[in-house]
Each structure stands twice: as structure tokens, then as C-alpha cells.
């Protein structure tokens, strides 16, 4: 098993809140397998909240908030720190970078995007090149360019020149700023909202619990996990380390609340609160926990919505099946254009998700596995 190392977070320049926290987290560089800049940022933002943090060699970061009660159940709250990105797998003789995607992306969102790779000497900017439309055949104009045929142009003169700043195996991601837009600036756009929104909600919730001296009834494990986007997830290891009775995943989910999309294909709507899934492509969620979370949201007047399509998937699939099984719940931010340079989510939804997570952690009646039938998930 991976060893963990405890450490004390370093004091950051400033503790950030709300959209400012989402902004800084989303701008941080963290394609799957290169999450360190993100976990360092999270650790700093937990300064004064979590006295001891721990990390493992797989890129996971943990903040524990134990219960005072004996034999308390364990609840793992989880968001992934990685984002979709790219890895260089070849450098052409004329200095262009060939790449493979880290995570599933529609190749049609890649052409023309500005990207940045983390070389040994620091970040290297480039763009995903495109054959001029004038030189494309009629056939080429109809077809989407395949990832295999794409290249990143960093302005290098040759392979040797490119090799001075990047190497095969270096990872990259989109260059994309954080923009508040729409009515009253109610929407936010950035890369990596998937899943830095979840990370931000966890940070702010843990701060609120600690500041309010709300000693939880359950042992809380705040797990900031790696490598979700490539499936080989740090959450598997995290769940097997802590063997939680409950798993709560904070995520983003791809939606289609767009004009002319029929109601039964929209999945969820931006602005209507956290999205609670009954089932997705990876998990059929714990009915009791899901129902309880929805009831709590209704009781407290916190906006929440049920996911209306069986699509997508997240680390719940791993957490539910860890150990002898865990009851699981996912709360997602309804997010347009997921896995692109321009993810769009709602500021109000972010607040609703934080409120719901706080309500669940302080009011839900968590029980140990033994009390509800050892090992049973249903």
C-alpha cells in the first residue's frame, strides 16, 4: 500500500472564498497525473482549518476531521483534482508536438485551442494547429480532425529546439481564463471547472465546519483525489485506505439545457441547484442516502435537482465498491461544454452545492455498516 506522509500546510498569500477560490483552483495546472500544483493550492487554502494534512504517492491529498464519538461511521467526501489534458507522445523532426488526450474529449473541441505544457524548465505555450481552411479538400471540411492528426505548434524550429523545453511524457492542458458572464455575472467559464468546483466546495465546507466548531457525528475524510479523468483513479486507493461507510462525491456533470433539446435529453439545468444522480453509466446510487439528501434539501429549501438521464460517471463507482461496500451519493454542478477549454457552470449552483453538503454533514443520520447490515450497499 502507498505510504502517506503528514504535513502542515503553508500559509498562503490569502484565503480565498466563493468564485475567487473556484477561479484560482481552476486556473491551476493539473492534468491527470500532474495534480501537485492543485493539491499544493488546496493545502494552502486549508491553512488554519486543517492542522495536519496527508498525501500519498498517487497524488491524493487528505484532510481528516474526526468525530468525538466512539465507533463513529466514516464518511469520505471526494472531489478529483485532475483535469482533462494532453501528454506529448512524439516530437516531429520539424518541432511539432504530437499528443494523446488525458481523459475523454470530443476531438472537435481541440483544433485552434491555446494550450500549455509543463516542461522541465517551466510552462511552454502553444496552439493546436489547424490546416488552413483554404487548403482543405471538400471531404476534409466535412470530417472532424482526428486527435492522431493534430499537433501542437510551440514555435519550435526543429525537434532539437523543441527538446530544449519539452519532452515526450510532458503533460499539458488548455489555456483558459476565468470569466463571469451572463445575467448579473451568474455564469462562470473556465477550463477545469470539472472538478475544481467540487474541490472548492469541499474546502469551504470544511472551513465552515471547523470555524463553527461543529464537531461531526461521523469521522469525515476530505479526499482530494487524482487521475479521475483517465479512469485509473486515486479515489480507488483513497477508499481502500479509509474504508468509508459512506461516500459523497462532489462533481460536475455534462448537461444539455440548450434550445431545441427535448426535456428528456437535457439531463439537468444550470441554475437549479446541485444535481443528485439516481443512476449514471458507472453507478446505481444508494437509494436511502439519495432519498435522504433530497429530503434534506427540500426541508432546508436548498435548490437541488435529480439527474434526468443515465449518462456519465464518476468516482462513486469506485467508492461504492471499495472494501465491503459504501453507501454513496453524488452532488454535481450542472455544467455545459464539459471537457473543453470553456466549461460553463452557475455561481448560484455552486452556493447550493456547498449548502447541501454542509446540511448533509451536520444533519444526516450516518450509521456504521454493522448497524445497517454489514457490507450491504442497498
Amino acid at each position: 500500500m502507498y505510504k502517506t506522509a503528514e504535513f502542515a500546510p503553508e500559509r498562503p498569500g490569502r484565503l480565498l472564498e466563493g468564485t475567487e477560490l473556484v477561479r484560482e483552483l481552476s486556473l491551476a495546472f493539473g492534468p491527470s497525473g500532474s495534480e501537485r500544483a492543485v493539491t499544493d493550492l488546496i493545502a494552502g487554502q486549508l491553512y488554519g482549518t486543517a492542522e495536519r494534512l496527508s498525501r500519498d504517492r498517487a497524488g491524493n491529498l487528505f484532510a481528516l476531521y474526526p468525530s468525538a464519538a466512539k465507533n463513529a461511521p466514516t464518511v469520505m467526501i471526494c472531489a478529483h483534482t485532475d483535469e482533462v489534458g494532453f501528454m506529448i507522445d512524439d516530437i516531429s523532426s520539424d518541432g511539432f508536438l504530437r499528443f494523446r488526450s488525458l481523459g475523454g474529449m470530443d476531438p472537435r473541441v481541440l483544433c485552434g485551442r491555446h494550450v500549455v505544457f509543463m516542461g522541465a524548465g517551466g510552462p511552454v505555450r502553444g496552439v493546436i494547429g489547424a490546416k488552413p481552411v483554404h487548403l482543405q479538400s471538400a471531404d476534409e471540411r466535412q470530417k472532424a480532425t482526428k486527435e492522431n492528426d493534430m499537433y501542437v505548434d510551440i514555435g519550435a524550429a526543429s525537434a532539437e529546439d523543441a527538446g530544449r523545453c519539452v519532452a515526450v511524457g510532458d503533460s499539458g492542458t488548455f489555456v483558459s481564463d476565468f470569466v463571469l458572464f451572463g445575467e448579473g455575472g451568474g455564469l462562470m467559464k473556465c477550463k477545469a471547472l470539472d472538478d475544481r468546483l467540487g474541490c472548492a466546495a469541499m474546502i469551504e465546507t470544511l472551513r465552515r465546519l471547523v470555524r463553527g466548531r461543529r464537531r461531526p457525528k461521523a469521522n469525515l475524510v476530505f479526499a482530494f483525489t487524482s487521475r479521475e479523468e483517465i479512469g485509473n483513479s486515486g479515489a480507488v486507493m483513497a477508499a481502500n485506505r479509509f474504508l468509508p461507510d459512506y461516500g459523497i462525491v462532489l462533481e460536475t456533470t455534462a448537461i444539455a439545457d440548450l434550445p431545441d433539446v427535448p426535456e428528456n435529453s437535457r439531463v439537468a439545468d444550470v441554475g437549479r441547484g446541485g444535481v443528485i444522480s439516481i443512476a449514471d453509466r458507472g453507478t446505481i446510487y444508494d437509494a436511502e442516502f439519495t432519498r435522504g439528501a433530497l429530503a434534506l434539501a427540500a426541508k432546508k429549501g436548498i435548490p437541488a435537482q435529480v439527474k434526468r438521464y443515465v449518462s456519465g460517471g464518476n468516482d462513486s463507482r469506485n467508492i461504492q465498491r471499495s472494501g465491503t461496500g459504501a453507501r454513496d451519493l453524488v452532488i454535481s454542478a450542472a455544467t455545459r461544454y464539459l471537457h473543453s477549454a470553456s466549461c460553463v457552470a452557475s455561481v448560484a449552483d455552486y452556493a447550493s452545492i456547498r449548502e447541501l453538503l454542509f446540511a448533509i454533514l451536520t444533519e444526516y443520520d450516518f450509521k456504521r455498516k454493522e448497524a445497517s447490515g454489514a457490507g450491504s450497499v442497498r
Binding site: D94, F96, G104, D106, P107, R108, V109, L110, C111, G112, R113, H114, R125, V127, G129, A130, K131, P132, V133, H134, L135, R141, Q142, A144, T145, D149, Y151, D153, I154, G155, A156, A157, D161, C165, V175, V179, F181, G182, E183, G186, L187, K189, A254, I255, A256, L258, P259, V261, S265, V267, Y309, S311, G312, R336, Y337, L338, S340, A341, S342, V344
Partner: protein
């Protein structure tokens, strides 16, 4: 007149909105950026901008320098509930680069209030895609621009017909390579303006007319340069536009190299003696210059300028550019400097004026 920093000027000029047909929306900012380099400035009914610098002599030859100010873009076709817009392309937009890109909608209310609206071009989530759909390029008419605004607000500020441009973005990469939108052709315009800015009037061999034209990207017409050249009636013309630089997905014969200087087009449509004179004088000065061949159409304003009036001796100069017609076009600063220098050579070297006297 102090010469401007070329990269700064390219950055600022390319960020001005000048979607084909909407070029006069950018006049104010254009005048701020380059107006002071010239003695006279004006616009015309075709959406052209004309800047003149006089040499100070009576009956001086008229030298036309041309670049097109217009850039590819989009135009609103409908307003949808939920804050979405549909669009159509203006000019040859490469639709492959649109999904996930960011745009600026240049809105204007009926009473003239201007409002820039931020928008994201949406992509389709996997569950809505039919098998094989990801292999096909999406038609621009099926794309939605997400503004997050109310449909009422959009109907007021961004009704059908409203221009939409790529959101300005600019970055410097390795080896003096710069990337952004609208380099086609405002990067060339910046080089021309910088070339003129650094010259004393008495060093010009004629009056310089810089036509920053409209309608080049409306490939059917090249109407701005055609009418602009007719109006100016120049003795000689030099058109500067971007040309294809090599990339892994292009053929060597249809492209040139980035970073090796500018191209001079050899063609039945361009003046051979002037072109060769320019190439030899540029080479003497150490300016990177390479021949390029066009047999049917230069693909630039030179195509119409050379047949304006009773015919105008015309040169066609190319600035190598990668990923043309995207929001991440790439050019080399050294090529831009070569273009600036070759334009300056052209307007200050009396040999060109003398060559014009030959038939």
C-alpha cells in the same frame, strides 16, 4: 514621428473588431493606433479606411499600399430562449475550431448603445451524439453561442445581423512566434503603418496611400480594394496579405517557411520587373525574401487592384502564417519585421519610381 513597437501594434490592431462589412465600427480605435502616422485619414462608403502621407512635392507619383482591414467572423441569425444565439459565418471561417471557443458579440441597441457580449460556442455532450457523429464536422448553423443573457436583452442588443468576432487573444511563443486572431490581415496592416511611421516625408519618392480595405474576406468581391484602387488611381500598388506557412498537414509546394522572411508573388497578374527589382534590392539589404507563384488568382487584393482603372503595376507580398482563419493564427516577428522593412524599402527607393517610366 516615433516608430511604434511592431509587436505592440500588431497585438492592439488585431484585437480591434473588423468583421467583413462591419469595418467602420473599428474606426475610432484604428485612428488612435495609426492615425498620427499619416497626414490625412478618411473612410468611404465601401467601409475602406484610407491613410495618406504626402512626400511634399507637387504632382508626385501615387504609391498605393494595400492590406485588408476586414477579418473573418460571424453574424447572428436568431435569438433563442435561455440566452443562446445561432450564427452564420462571414468569410471563410474554419468551423472546426469553433466548438469550445470564445467569442465577442458586438451588440448595439436600436438607440445606438454599444454593448460587447461575451459568449462561448457550445459543444455537444456525448449522450446527445449519434454514433459516428464525432467524426463529422458540425455545420456552423447547428452551433449555439451561449451568452447567459435573457432572450429579451439579446433581442434588443444582438438581433439577427449583429456581428460576432473571435474573442481577442494574443500570446508570444518560442523563437519570436506570436499567435492570436485577425493576423489575416491586420498584422500586415500593422507592418505597413510601422513602415510609413518610420520614414521622413522627404525620403518618400511619392505620396503614400495606405488603403486598409474592406470585403477581402468576402472572396467573391474583393470589393473594397477594387473600388479603393479605382478612387485613388495610383501609379503603382503593393498589396500585402498573409500566405500559407508550412505545417505537418500541408504540402511543401503549397506553402512557404515561417521565419525566413516574406514572399513576393510572381504571376501574370503582378508586375514582373517591379517584383524582381524588389527581390534583388531586398536581398541586398539582407531582408528575407522568397518567390511565390500564383497562376490563376493571387487570393489577395492584388487580384483586383492590378486591373483597376486601365491597369495598375502591382506587387503582391506575403506574410507567412500558420493556422490561417482560426483564433490562433501564428506568425513570426522576424517575418513581420521583414515585411515592414521591405515596404519601407519600396516607398523610399527611387529606383521603383524610375522603373515605372519604362513600358
Amino acid at each position: 514621428m516615433n516608430e511604434p513597437d511592431l509587436v505592440d501594434l500588431i497585438r492592439e490592431l488585431t484585437s480591434v473588431m473588423s468583421v467583413t462589412g462591419f469595418t467602420l465600427r473599428g474606426t475610432g480605435r484604428l485612428y488612435e493606433l495609426i492615425g498620427d502616422f499619416f497626414d490625412e485619414k478618411s473612410t468611404d462608403r465601401m467601409g475602406n479606411h484610407l491613410f495618406v502621407k504626402r512626400c511634399g512635392r507637387e504632382n508626385a507619383p501615387k504609391i498605393l499600399l494595400d492590406a485588408h482591414f476586414d477579418e473573418i467572423g460571424m453574424m447572428v441569425t436568431s435569438v433563442k430562449e435561455g440566452g443562446f444565439l445561432t450564427v452564420t459565418g462571414i468569410g471563410g471561417v474554419d468551423t472546426r475550431i469553433l466548438q469550445g471557443s470564445e467569442v465577442t458579440v458586438y451588440g448595439r441597441s436600436p438607440d445606438g448603445e454599444e454593448r460587447r457580449i461575451y459568449g462561448v460556442v457550445g459543444s455537444t455532450p456525448p449522450h446527445l451524439q449519434k454514433p459516428g457523429e464525432a467524426d463529422r464536422n458540425r455545420d456552423i448553423k447547428d452551433l449555439l453561442i451561449d451568452t447567459g443573457l435573457s432572450a429579451d436583452g439579446l433581442r434588443r442588443f444582438a438581433p439577427p445581423g449583429t456581428p460576432v468576432g473571435f474573442r481577442p487573444v494574443f500570446a508570444e511563443l518560442r523563437n519570436g512566434i506570436i499567435t492570436g486572431k485577425g493576423f489575416d490581415d491586420k498584422a500586415c496592416g500593422a507592418c505597413i503603418a510601422a513602415a510609413v511611421a518610420g520614414v521622413r516625408a522627404e525620403d518618400l519618392w511619392g505620396d503614400v496611400y495606405f488603403l486598409f480595405s474592406n470585403f477581402e474576406e468576402d472572396g467573391a468581391s474583393f470589393g473594397g480594394a477594387a473600388t479603393g484602387a479605382f478612387a485613388i488611381d495610383p501609379d503603382v500598388a503593393l498589396a500585402a496579405d498573409v500566405t500559407f506557412a508550412s505545417s505537418p498537414d500541408t504540402k511543401k509546394r503549397e506553402t512557404c517557411e515561417l521565419g525566413k522572411g516574406v514572399t513576393v508573388t510572381l504571376s501574370p497578374m503582378t508586375d514582373v520587373r517591379l517584383s524582381k527589382l524588389l527581390m534583388s534590392l531586398a536581398a541586398e539589404k539582407g531582408i528575407g525574401v522568397h518567390p511565390s507563384v500564383a497562376t490563376r488568382h493571387t487570393g489577395t487584393d492584388a487580384y483586383v487592384i492590378n486591373k483597376a482603372r486601365a491597369g495598375i503595376p502591382t506587387l503582391d507580398i506575403g506574410l507567412p502564417l500558420r493556422s490561417m482563419h482560426t483564433s490562433a493564427e501564428l506568425a513570426s516577428v522576424s517575418d513581420c519585421e521583414a515585411l515592414r522593412d521591405i515596404v519601407r524599402l519600396f516607398i523610399t527607393e527611387p529606383a521603383f519610381g524610375k522603373e515605372l517610366e519604362n513600358v
